[in-house]
């Protein structure tokens, strides 16, 4: 199957700073990919390159097109919500829907109105009259009503309350996602998306430090919780990362012998958030985990 996104040596420099540093990517259709990284890691820049918003060095193909050159054509099959709410403040909701309908061949007015019915947004509202959360709801309703192949969400639920965030991810999974579509999400609220992701990519200082499916992640990484007097033994088995919680020592291992570890204490599957912290901190001390 042709990949949705494929990149070879994708690089973006701003003057002397290298925001994205020779990234290789291969994202097939039908995946939900979480792109996770600390602030300033190059997530947004990488997404911008994929969306044709910045020029870049290296090879990048999105749905078989070069995004830097063919943005307008590409946007018929790609939708994105970039960063926080960027809807024009002067526009009314009905105007926004009209405009999207006329410009987007794959927009469904009915679906959009359906999603909006669950919110307090009315057609006559101006965007500037809406709260931050309502603007995000409006933008999500617009985007989810477009039948595209690739959906890119950069911090899509920033400013939304928990109820709507849960609702959003449920809708995304049940109504929107299917095996033809690919969703690429960045967020700092990792725990909210971890159960819907099929793939995980960690990015740090413009480089990819982890790129694997969630199944591989669950197989590969294991967390061990031990009482303090077993800590030395656990530490000798070269863990990726160590932390302390309520007097217990917690170690994270990559491709470890689980039978041997089970003798020392309790084994868990690490959360993406813990894995993220371990990878980011481990990468600086141990020189990478990928």
């Amino acid at each position: 199957m042709n990949p949705i996104i494929s990149a070879r040596g994708l690089t973006k420099r701003f003057g002397r700073t290298v925001a994205v540093d020779h990234i290789d990517l291969n994202i097939p259709p039908g995946r939900i990919v979480g792109l996770i990284g600390p602030n300033g890691a190059g997530k947004t820049t990488a997404l911008k390159a994929i969306l044709g918003l910045v020029t870049f060095d290296g090879e990048l193909s999105v749905l078989g097109k070069n995004p830097a050159r063919d943005r307008a054509v590409l946007m018929e099959d790609v939708c994105f919500i970039a960063d926080v709410a960027v809807l024009p403040r002067w526009i009314r909701v009905w105007q926004l829907i009209d405009l999207t309908e006329q410009l987007h061949p794959k927009f469904s007015r009915e679906k959009c109105l359906e999603y909006l019915a669950d919110t307090k947004v009315t057609l006559d509202h101006k965007v500037k009259q809406l709260s931050k959360g309502m603007v995000a709801q409006l933008h999500l309703a617009l985007v989810m009503a477009i039948d595209v192949t690739l959906l890119v969400l950069d911090e899509p639920t920033l400013g939304l309350d928990i109820i709507y965030r849960k609702q959003f991810y449920t809708n995304l999974l049940n109504d929107y996602f299917d095996e033809q579509r690919t969703i690429l999400i960045t967020t700092h609220q990792v725990e909210e998306i971890e159960h819907i992701l099929t793939d995980l990519i960690f990015i740090q200082d413009g480089k990819i430090v982890l790129d694997s499916t969630m199944d591989e992640v669950r197989e590969r990484y294991v967390e061990l919780m031990v009482v303090p007097d077993k800590a030395g033994q656990a530490r000798s088995l070269s863990p990726l990362y160590e932390r302390e919680l309520f007097g217990r020592h917690i170690f994270l291992y990559d491709r470890a012998d689980t039978e041997q570890l089970a003798l020392l204490g309790e084994l868990h599957t690490p959360s993406v958030a813990d894995l993220f912290v371990a990878t980011m901190k481990g990468a600086t001390t141990k020189g990478g985990a990928a």
């Binding site: 918003l53 946007m75 960027v86 999207t100 410009l103």
Partner: protein
């Protein structure tokens, strides 16, 4: 085509106040002035003797004279509309590729399948066609309301408005001439429109300064060089801009023609073109060498604007 219409509607929605309300307000000012004149007349002259006397005097004039006066009045009444339209267009263009960069809504616009070329073209067409159309429409409405008020006044004092002026005017001819002059001006103004779009796409802040300071500084430096070299006045940028303005195909001033005062195209201080309001004179300008150079300059500016728009989300 549908996309272009959608984008033009978007320009209208965003600028409804400037595009639609402003010309209607000017029309309102014309009507208000007319009503104030009538009320003043009634206040000082309850029997409207002066009005009756004026109607009698006017009715004695030959038809061609009445026709000519009204035609000239209709052309002349555009000047306030034109002046305000120029200001509206100027600020519209300055903001057109700047405001959405400023408030970051450009990220939303770029998420729609509309190319940068189409986007810049929509701003260009809004300035060249949409704005003049709204001003024309408001002008026509104003003329009609003024004609109705004038007719009622004439009827009120026992006169016959049909005989006096309604039958002698050819509104289509006057409106047609104004329309041609407006849209010819849109073409004539291309280099300036292109410049403003370029600045709007480029300016990191305060586009007004970026639009006015470079030509100003350039002109000052040029004048200084000219002072050193004694060059001709003509090739200086100020001279070029003055020529451009004075030779505009838009109704702007009046001139004495065959011993009579007549409404004129542009400012009749330069002898290159005839300033009488005729189609020939308007098209003379559009098919001139100056216009050709103007179009080339405009094309360079517009390509620059599109390129900058393409790179607007770089940082």
């Amino acid at each position: 085509m549908n996309r272009m219409i959608a984008l033009l509607r978007r320009e209208y929605w965003e600028n409804k106040g400037a595009f639609r309300t402003t010309p209607l307000v000017i029309g309102g000012i014309y009507v208000a002035i007319l009503l104030m004149l009538i009320i003043t007349a009634v206040y000082f002259d309850t029997d409207l003797w002066t009005v009756k006397e004026f109607i009698r005097w006017a009715a004695d004039r030959p038809t061609e004279f009445r026709s000519m006066v009204i035609y000239q009045f209709m052309l002349g009444s555009t000047v306030l509309f034109t002046f305000v339209m120029a200001i509206v267009t100027f600020f519209y263009l300055l903001g057109s590729l700047y405001d959405d960069r400023k408030d970051r809504s450009i990220l939303f616009w770029k998420s729609l399948p509309a190319s940068d070329t189409l986007t810049v073209a929509s701003k260009l067409l809004a300035a060249m066609i949409v704005i003049p159309s709204f001003f024309l429409l408001a002008l026509i409405i104003t003329h009609i309301i003024m004609a109705i008020i004038g007719s009622l006044l004439v009827l009120g004092v026992g006169g016959d408005p049909w005989m006096l002026f309604l039958s002698v005017v050819n509104p289509i001819k006057a409106w047609g001439m104004i329309a041609v002059s407006y849209f010819a001006q849109s073409v004539w103004a291309l280099p300036v429109i292109g410049w403003l779009l370029l600045v709007s796409a480029f300016a990191p802040r305060v586009p007004l300064l970026f639009a006015t300071l470079p030509p100003l500084i350039f002109s000052i430096l040029q004048s200084w060089f000219v002072f050193l070299q004694t060059f001709t006045l003509k090739t200086k940028l100020v001279g070029v801009i003055a020529d451009w303005l004075f030779n505009s195909p838009i109704i702007l001033t009046a001139e004495v023609h065959d011993g009579r005062g007549e409404i004129a195209l542009g400012v009749p201080l330069k002898g290159e073109f005839d300033h009488a309001v005729t189609l020939t004179n308007i098209f003379d300008r559009l098919f001139s060498m100056q216009m050709l150079i103007g179009i080339v300059v405009a094309a360079v500016f517009l390509v620059g604007a599109i390129w900058l728009r393409h790179r607007a989300t770089e940082s």
